[in-house]
Amino acid sequence: MTSIILLSVFGIINLFLGFLKSNKILLPAVIIFLAIVFGVNFLDWNNPQSHFNNMLTIDNFAVAFSAVMVLSLALILPFSRSYINSGNPHLAEFYSILMFSLVGAIMMVSYENIIMLFLGIEILSIAMYVMAGSHKKELRSNEAALKYLLMGSFATGILLFGFALIYGASGSFNIAEIASFSSNTTATDLLPMMEIGVLLVLVGICFKIGAAPFHFWTPDVYEGTPTLFTTYMSTVVKTAGIAAFYKLVWAVFPGLNEFWYPTLVAITVLTLVIGNIGAAIQTSFKRMMAYSSIAHAGYLLIALTSFNDYSENAVLFYALSYTVATVAAFGVLKLVSDQREGETYEMFNGLGRTNPLLAFAMTVAMCSLASIPLTGGFFAKFFIFGSAIEAGAVWLVVVAILMSAVSIYYYFRVVMAMYMKEPVGEKVAVDGFAAFMLIFLSIFTFIMGIFPGWFNNWL
């Protein structure tokens, strides 16, 4: 609760800091704000309480996922150096909108009432529509914003229709009451209405997290959006969406799990296959990362289909390791593409010779995403598959492992381009802060891979 208030206040303060002549103070200020929020967030650890007539419950689940999301924003922002250097007039607004959108993301992981979930999704989505179009003079960015807005509004409409039907059936927005209604087998008169509502909500949320077959917006939007905000979309938005989805299926609709389970499994398998095969046939690195984010949504959905002692921690660990690796990969992409104009694999040719640090950070990130042992991504998938096997879904794990094998092909294409091709351009200039962040992210990936126990039994 405190973190929501603090983020809103800091966002407004940040808007006012934008009036200052120099925009050099903005980045340190935002990082300090986020550090404060990150610390204050943990005050509620092991102290679950609900606020404002059960609108919001801050439990360990909410605190842990809020921490991951605040951390990812703090990891992403150091790569915004090119905006500061080019004197972008809207820098304060960028930062503020991202902070406000974190309010929505935190609402999505701590909701106790469906209205809060809806409001959180909307705050996050509207901020993303704006950020997708923030590169006003580029046609691709305009296209991304328009596509995202139109398709996103449509998905919101479907989601809201679902919530309305659920409210009509259960007579309450409170998730505990909805859960008790859905597990009450005697009240069958209104059950079909509830089931249709659940299906529509499933569709809406799957759109927001970019799961197949509702993924068609993802490649175009991720490609057109400025890289900094693509990073935010594929980390914070995905983490918030998956956490909200996890809570939704296991805290709100547990009584109906025989009904939605086959649908969710079908969506999971489709997402895994389409994400990985789609990524393998891309020629643009950024589009590949878009499909890879679909694929990772698929792995996370595996944890959603299995509800046991391991799945919550598995989702948290996966979200954290995926965030760290994705931020590093997009960070290198941003640094390189700012100077080499383009987002194809060829752009990375010979980076290992001109910029060993960038190439190393990218290699670590790709290894983590492809889940090579010693990196965080290996244990992330290990825990997810472990929880799925515990739940008895062995064939799902077999599909996922086959698809991981496909993923090694496309993740290592860029590694091969970096180390085995002739350089295509000059050395890429890297500022100190970004270099430090890349080293930090690489070390963090290794720590997660070598000491996974440190991060795996929080919840």
């Binding site: 606020h51 609108m55 406000f100 959108s101 929505g104 409001l119 705050i123 179009g133 006003k136 249709i196």
Partner: protein
């Protein structure tokens, strides 16, 4: 009497709702949408939600529809120049929409939503006072956090709409 009013309003809503989709001229679509909103407000009054009915007319039929009309006139979309869609996508859209309709009808025909009971009825339930009590007591937090949503939208709109140096002047 009430039942006849209900069926008349339903008829009006459905007819004007489908005319929004079927009319070729966007301005007609918007005008039919206004009619739809008015008939939905009629439903709200039948449901004893007077405040909601008034707000629906003021906000949707009043403000938002005027905005729609403005945008359509500014963009000069009132020519009948819809882009041609391929038959395949039309066919796919019809099948997808039809399947959704079938599922909705099949599921909702079994629903027994209960009947109206006169004894437990509170005639004051849709009044502004009761609505305010619910909004500012039970739903205070979402009500306040909606301001963050508007702040994001406002900051975003100003950011996207503001003229930058070196941009073309219209």
């Amino acid at each position: 009497m009430i039942q006849n009013v209900f069926y008349f309003l339903c008829f009006l809503t459905l007819i004007s709702g489908s005319m929004v989709v079927f009319s070729r001229n966007p301005v007609y679509s918007v005008l039919f949408l206004i009619l739809t909103f008015f008939s939905i407000s009629g439903h709200y009054i039948l449901l004893n939600a007077q405040f909601l009915a008034a707000v629906n007319i003021i906000v949707y039929a009043g403000a938002i529809m005027v905005l729609f009309l403005f945008v359509i006139m500014f963009l000069n979309l009132n020519k009948e120049n819809e882009t041609h869609k391929s038959n395949l996508s039309k066919f796919a859209a019809v099948i997808a929409g039809g399947i959704l309709l079938v599922i909705m009808v099949a599921a909702l025909k079994d629903v027994d939503a209960g009947t109206y009971k006169a004894e437990g009825f509170d005639s004051q339930i849709g009044m502004v006072q009761n609505l305010g009590m619910v909004l500012f007591k039970n739903y205070l937090l979402p009500f306040e956090l909606a301001s963050v949503l508007f702040l994001v939208a406002m900051a975003g709109a100003v950011m996207l709409g503001k003229k930058e140096t070196g941009e073309r002047h219209f």
